[in-house]
C-alpha cells in the first residue's frame, strides 16, 4: 500500500508541519518527551509524526518500546485498566528511560476510559509517555488536555501536496496529466492519505492518469453515496432512501457515526433553504448524540431521513 510505502520514517523526512516537526526534533535531542496531543484533520501526518518520533528516539528496534493502540477498536475502560496499565508500569533500562504509547483516534475513547487514563498517565509518567492522536482535541477531557503538550496539525498547503504526488509518480514511473493532478487535489482537500489511495487506485486502472480516471475511481469507491441517499429522501422516496442507508450499514460495513458525519457536511451543500439546513442540523446533532449513547444506528438515521422527506415536501410546496 503506497500510504505505507511512502510514509516517512524519520522526522527529517517530513516536509510539512515545520514548526511541529522542529519541536519534536528537539524532544529527540533532549531524549525527553512530554505527554502530547496531536490534533488535526485526517491525512495531515499525525500518526506519521508520532511513529517518526518513536523511531528517531529508539532507532530501528523502536517497536520494542512503543505500543500503538487504536481507541476506535479498543475503546473501553478495560483496555485502559489492563493493556495500557501493564504496558505503562513496567520499567526498562536504556538510554531513554521511558516507553511511548501512541493512542490513535483517542477522541473515540469513552468518557470512563478517559478518566481512567488520566490517573494512569499521572502515575506512570516516569516509565511511559503518551501521545494521544485525535481529530478534535475538544473531544478529549480537560484534565487530560492539561497534562499534555498540544500540537495542532493543519491541512497541507497545495504545493506540498503537489510535491508529494510528483514524488510518487516519479518513483513509480507514472504519467499523470495536469487535469488528473488537479482533480486529485480538489477531491482530497489536503488529506494525504486520500490523495495517495486515489493515486494508487487510478494507477491500477491505467495510464496516463487524467481527470476522467480520477473521477471514475472516486465514483466507484463511493457506491454508498450519502449525497444520493439524501437526495432520494428529499425527493420523497423514504423507502428507497432507507434501503440505501441499510446497504451502507450492512453491506459496506460503514459505522453510523461516520455516516452521520458525512450527512452533516452534505446537508450544508444541499440546495435547500438555509432555514431547513439549521433545522436539520439540530436533528442531526440529536441523532449523533443518541448514537453515542448507544441507540440503534439505522432507526436513528432513518428518522433523520424522514425529516428530510418532510423538508423536501415543504420546500416543494414553497
Amino acid at each position: 500500500m503506497w500510504t505505507e510505502k511512502y510514509r516517512p520514517h524519520s522526522l527529517i523526512d517530513i516536509v510539512d508541519q515545520e514548526q511541529i516537526v522542529n519541536r519534536l526534533k528537539s524532544f529527540v535531542k533532549a531524549q525527553n518527551v512530554p505527554h502530547c496531543i496531536f490534533a488535526g484533520p485526517p491525512g495531515t501526518g499525525k500518526t506519521t509524526a508520532a511513529l517518526c518520533l518513536a523511531r528517531d528516539l529508539y532507532g530501528p528496534s523502536y517497536r520494542d518500546y512503543v505500543m500503538e493502540l487504536n481507541a476506535s477498536d479498543e475503546r473501553g475502560i478495560n483496555v485502559v485498566r489492563e493493556t495500557v496499565k501493564t504496558f505503562a508500569r513496567t520499567k526498562f533500562i536504556g538510554e531513554v528511560s521511558f516507553k511511548v504509547l501512541i493512542l490513535d483516534e483517542a477522541d473515540n475513547m469513552t468518557g470512563d476510559a478517559q478518566q481512567a487514563l488520566r490517573r494512569t498517565m499521572e502515575r506512570y509518567t516516569e516509565t511511559a509517555r503518551f501521545i494521544l492522536i485525535a481529530n478534535y482535541s475538544g473531544k478529549i477531557i480537560e484534565p487530560i488536555q492539561s497534562r499534555c503538550a498540544p500540537f495542532r496539525f493543519t491541512y497541507l498547503p497545495r504545493e506540498h501536496a503537489v510535491n508529494w504526488i510528483k514524488r510518487i509518480t516519479d518513483n513509480e514511473g507514472l504519467t499523470i496529466k495536469d487535469d488528473g493532478l488537479e482533480a486529485i487535489l480538489e477531491i482530497s482537500g489536503g488529506d494525504l492519505r486520500r490523495v495517495t489511495n486515489i493515486l494508487q487506485t487510478a494507477a491500477s486502472i491505467g495510464q496516463p492518469i487524467d481527470e476522467e480516471t480520477v473521477y471514475s475511481v472516486v465514483g466507484r469507491a463511493n457506491p454508498a453515496d450519502v449525497q444520493e441517499m439524501l437526495l432520494t429522501a428529499l425527493s420523497g422516496d423514504f423507502v428507497e432512501a432507507r434501503k440505501k442507508l441499510r446497504d451502507m450499514l450492512l453491506k459496506y460495513g460503514l459505522a453510523g457515526t461516520d455516516i452521520i458525519g458525512q450527512i452533516h457536511s452534505e446537508t450544508f451543500r444541499l440546495s435547500i433553504p438555509d432555514k431547513w439546513k439549521v433545522k436539520l442540523a439540530e436533528v442531526i446533532g440529536e441523532a449523533d448524540f443518541r448514537l453515542l449513547q448507544g441507540s440503534n444506528e439505522e432507526i436513528q438515521l432513518s428518522a433523520l431521513l424522514a425529516k428530510l422527506v418532510e423538508a423536501g415536501a415543504e420546500i416543494k410546496r414553497g
Binding site: 490513535d104 494508487q200 491500477s204 460503514l254 441523532a287 448507544g294 439505522e298 432507526i299 422527506v309
Partner: protein, 407 residues
C-alpha cells in the same frame, strides 16, 4: 415495485377460482339464461365472508365470456345520482362494438346512509329493468336495508374455503415464487386464515417473499394469533388506535418481544404513513422509543421500559391521521432478514478492516471507510497489484475473494 400476491395470483378463469363449486355452477347457469332473454331475477347477489372470491368470480366470469366488466365499489360515491350516471345507461345499451356488459356493484355493505343517500333505491330500480346482467356483492345479505333489493335478486352464498383448498393454493404460489416451503408451515398459515384465502395469501407474502425457504419456525408465531392476538392484529391496533390508551394496551394484550415489535412497526411505518410531515413525526416517535431502549441497555434500568413502549405505541398512533382509504397489508420486517444474511459479510469486513488497520495504522472502521473501497477497485482491475497487496496485507483466500467480487 411491490405487487401484492393477492393481485399477482388472482384467478384468470372461473375454473381457477378455488372452492364453492355449487355456487359457481349456479352463477354459470344464471348467466347463460341471459343468452335467450333476461331471466326473472336480473341480478345475482353474492354474499359471504371476506376473502373468499366474491369479486373475483364476477371478474373472471366477464373475462371467460368476453364481456366488458363495469364496476363500482366502496371507493366510489354511490349516491342516487352517481349510480344512475354509472349504471343507468350501461344497463340498457351494449358497448360501441356490440360487446355485452356485466355490471358489478361490489361491497354493498360499504354504501352509507348519508354519503350515498338514495343509492340503494336507484340500484334496486336498475336491477328491475336492466338489459345487462348485474352482480352485487356484500358480506351480509340479510341486513334490513337490503330487504327490497334482495327480493329482486337471485341469492348465491359463498362459503368459507376449506383449509385443504387454501393450503393447495399457497403451495402453488410457493412453487411459482421459488419458495421451498415445509408442509407444516403452509398448513399453519392456511389453518390460521380460517377460510379467508386473501388473508392467507397476504400472510404468506409477508412471511415468504424473497426467501428461498419457509420453515415451520418462521411461521410458528402465527399459531399464537388466536390465543394471544397476532402481530398483524397488534400492528393494526397500534397504527389505527383511536386513542393512546388503546394503542398502549395493544402491547399488553400481545405476547410479543418489544424489540421484535419495534422492528415490525419500524418496517411498516413508511408503508402506512404516507404524508411527509406525519412520516417524520412517526419516525421521530420510533427514534425516541429506540433512545429509551438504548438507555435501558446502558443503565440496565428496566423501569424505563414503559417509555420505550409508550413511544412506539401511543406515540405512533397519534403521529398520523389514519384515514381508512385503502387497506395496506402489513409486512414482515426485512431488516432482520437482511441482517442475518449480511452477518457473514460484516464479519468479513471487520476482519479485513483489522488487518488493514494494523498495517496502515488506522482503525478497522476507518479502513472499511477509507481503504476498502479503493482496494476493491484495485482487486477488480489489476491482477499484479492485487497479488502484491494480498501478500503485503497477508489476506487469506476468502478475503481476496471478498474484495474481488463485484456487488
Amino acid at each position: 415495485m411491490f405487487v401484492p400476491w393477492t393481485i399477482k395470483y388472482k384467478p384468470k378463469t372461473l375454473a381457477e377460482v378455488v372452492g364453492n363449486q355449487i355456487a359457481k355452477d349456479k352463477i354459470l347457469k344464471w348467466v347463460h339464461e341471459w343468452d335467450r332473454k333476461p331471466p326473472k331475477k336480473r341480478a345475482l347477489f353474492i354474499y359471504g365472508s371476506p376473502g373468499i372470491g366474491k369479486t373475483v368470480v364476477a371478474e373472471v366470469l366477464a373475462n371467460d365470456l368476453g364481456m366488458e366488466l363495469v364496476q363500482s365499489n366502496a371507493s366510489n360515491y354511490r349516491t342516487a345520482e352517481a349510480v344512475q350516471k354509472f349504471a343507468g345507461t350501461a344497463s340498457h345499451y351494449s358497448t360501441l362494438f356490440g360487446k355485452k356488459r356485466l355490471i358489478l356493484f361490489d361491497e354493498l355493505d360499504g354504501i352509507t346512509g348519508t354519503a350515498d343517500r338514495g343509492g340503494l333505491r336507484v340500484i334496486t330500480d336498475i336491477v328491475k329493468t336492466t338489459g345487462s346482467p348485474i352482480i352485487l356483492t356484500a358480506n351480509n345479505v340479510y341486513e334490513p336495508r337490503f330487504s327490497t333489493l334482495r327480493e329482486h335478486c337471485q341469492l348465491v352464498e359463498f362459503k368459507k374455503l376449506a383449509r385443504t383448498d387454501i393450503e393447495a393454493y399457497l403451495k402453488k404460489i410457493c412453487s411459482q415464487e421459488g419458495v421451498e416451503a415445509e408442509a407444516d408451515a403452509l398448513r399453519l398459515v392456511a389453518e390460521r386464515a380460517s377460510g379467508d384465502l386473501r388473508s392467507a395469501v397476504n400472510d404468506l407474502q409477508a412471511l415468504a417473499q424473497g426467501k428461498k425457504q419457509l420453515a415451520y419456525d418462521d411461521v410458528s408465531w402465527l399459531s399464537t394469533r388466536d390465543r394471544k392476538e397476532a402481530i398483524f392484529k397488534v400492528l393494526s391496533d397500534i397504527f389505527y388506535a383511536g386513542n393512546v390508551w388503546d394503542a398502549r394496551r395493544a402491547v399488553d394484550a400481545a405476547d410479543i418481544d418489544p424489540d421484535m415489535l419495534l422492528e415490525w412497526i419500524y418496517e411498516n411505518v413508511p408503508h402506512q404513513v404516507k404524508d411527509p410531515k406525519e412520516l417524520a413525526a412517526t419516525m421521530e416517535m420510533l427514534a425516541s422509543a429506540d433512545m429509551y431502549r438504548g438507555r435501558i441497555r446502558a443503565t440496565q434500568n428496566w423501569t424505563l421500559m414503559r417509555y420505550f413502549i409508550d413511544f412506539m405505541t401511543a406515540g405512533v398512533a397519534i403521529s398520523w391521521n389514519h384515514r381508512t382509504s385503502g387497506w395496506v397489508p402489513f409486512r414482515f420486517p426485512t431488516r432482520i432478514m437482511t441482517m442475518s444474511h449480511s452477518k457473514a459479510q460484516r464479519e468479513m469486513m471487520t476482519v479485513i478492516g483489522l488487518k488493514i488497520g494494523k498495517r496502515c495504522h488506522i482503525s478497522s472502521n476507518q479502513a472499511a471507510k477509507d481503504v476498502v473501497p479503493y482496494l476493491r477497485i484495485i482487486f477488480q482491475t489489476n491482477e499484479t497489484m492485487k497479488n502484491g497487496l494480498s501478500r503485503w496485507f497477508d489476506f487469506d483466500e476468502d478475503m481476496v475473494n471478498y474484495l474481488s467480487t463485484k456487488k
